[in-house]
């Protein structure tokens, strides 16, 4: 991370802190039909800007993000379904363009991993608790030498002396 990235990151934090109106969509891009525009905005939040990589095209000011927003809106106006528009972009940029990766064999570990870890951790905790409950710790028998020393200590303690 160099100085420029840091500056960009700080700027991004500042912009985000400034309020919710941070989308990059400029007025001339907005569709006249509010229903289509709402779908365009929703789709834009699901699609990754390939240049900035951790921003959606709805958030990004990169020229490529603007181009992709335009493509999304053109296809919406042409009557494409949301799924068809996503497919159109996945054919060009791969699943990476989707901010929410699809569930398929290659991503099973990604989606199920957290639950597996939770299960494993839960199992360990359960096993630990059960062991503590079922096997209370028994002090071992004292051997004769220890017993003798104990008697001696008890006898020398004034509080333990028979009244």
């Amino acid at each position: 991370m160099n100085r420029k990235h840091l500056a960009v990151a700080l700027l991004a934090v500042g912009i985000l802190a400034a309020g919710p109106g941070s989308a990059a969509t400029s007025p001339d891009e907005i569709l006249p039909d509010p229903a289509l525009e709402a779908r365009a905005r929703a789709l834009g939040k699901e699609l990754r800007c390939l240049v900035c990589q951790n921003q959606s095209i709805d958030d990004s000011d990169a020229p490529l993000a603007k181009d992709l927003r335009r493509i999304v809106r053109e296809r919406l106006v042409a009557g494409d379904s949301d799924a068809a528009i996503k497919r159109h972009l996945v054919e060009r940029y791969g699943d990476f363009v989707l901010l929410r990766p699809p569930v398929k064999p290659a991503t099973w570990l990604l989606w199920l991993g957290p639950f597996l870890v939770l299960l494993a951790g839960g199992g360990l905790v359960l096993a630990f608790l059960r062991r503590r409950r079922t096997a209370p710790v028994e002090p071992p028998e004292l051997d004769p030498a220890e017993r003798q020393r104990l008697e001696m200590l008890l006898a020398s303690d004034p509080h333990n002396r028979p009244a």
Partner: protein, 190 residues
């Protein structure tokens, strides 16, 4: 009398030594993944178009250079490169001598001129040389999106069937020629 003795030492469960290996194994697994991750550039995306036919496109010529333009019909027949460049792109200037070198070796290189003013592109080629066979002007950047381009320069290796075989993101360096481009072109048989 309920005095208790020696609990800690007595609490040792029988033979659970292998549990102490668990963190070590976890550390090793994480280490392997991190080591693999170190060698990768997270900014470089694999192309989904590898081994697929190049997308259909038809781009107009750069006015003032020729009248031919560049379209999908120009791809194939023999292995070739397709380079995406722009005069405003600094890394393109860096890689240009490498493209010149390849062109002198007889490699066909076509180009997509990305979001450029034609006069700027022509000045760029006059200053640095013109290694390109055909150039298509992609002023809106739409053809580049069909190619899955997300930044200039990018370079594609096309086989004789017009399929994309390799995509290089960023400026081509001499070592990229040695390691990947020349061996691949040789394999594809030019």
């Amino acid at each position: 009398m309920s005095t208790r003795f020696g609990e800690p030492s007595a609490a040792r469960a029988p033979h659970r030594g292998w549990l102490y290996l668990l963190p070590v194994l976890l550390f090793a697994a994480v280490g392997v993944f991190l080591a693999l991750g170190l060698g990768r550039d997270p900014q470089t995306l694999p192309s989904v178009l590898i081994d697929k036919p190049a997308p259909a496109f038809a781009l107009p010529p750069l006015p003032g250079r020729d009248e031919r333009g560049f379209s999908s019909a120009d791809l194939g027949g023999r292995p070739m490169l397709v380079n995406v460049f722009a005069s405003w792109c600094v890394p393109c200037r860096i890689e240009h001598p490498v493209l010149d070198q390849l062109a002198r070796e007889g490699v066909t290189i076509h180009a997509i001129n990305y979001k450029d003013a034609p006069e700027d592109a022509l000045a760029f080629l006059r200053a640095l040389g013109d290694p390109f066979s055909r150039i298509g002007a992609d002023r809106q950047g739409r053809a580049a999106i069909d190619w899955g381009v997300y930044g200039v320069p990018e370079t594609f290796v096309i086989d004789r069937d017009g399929r994309i075989r390799y995509r290089h993101v960023g400026p081509l360096q001499p070592r990229d020629l040695e390691r990947t481009v020349r061996p691949l072109l040789a394999e594809l048989g030019r």
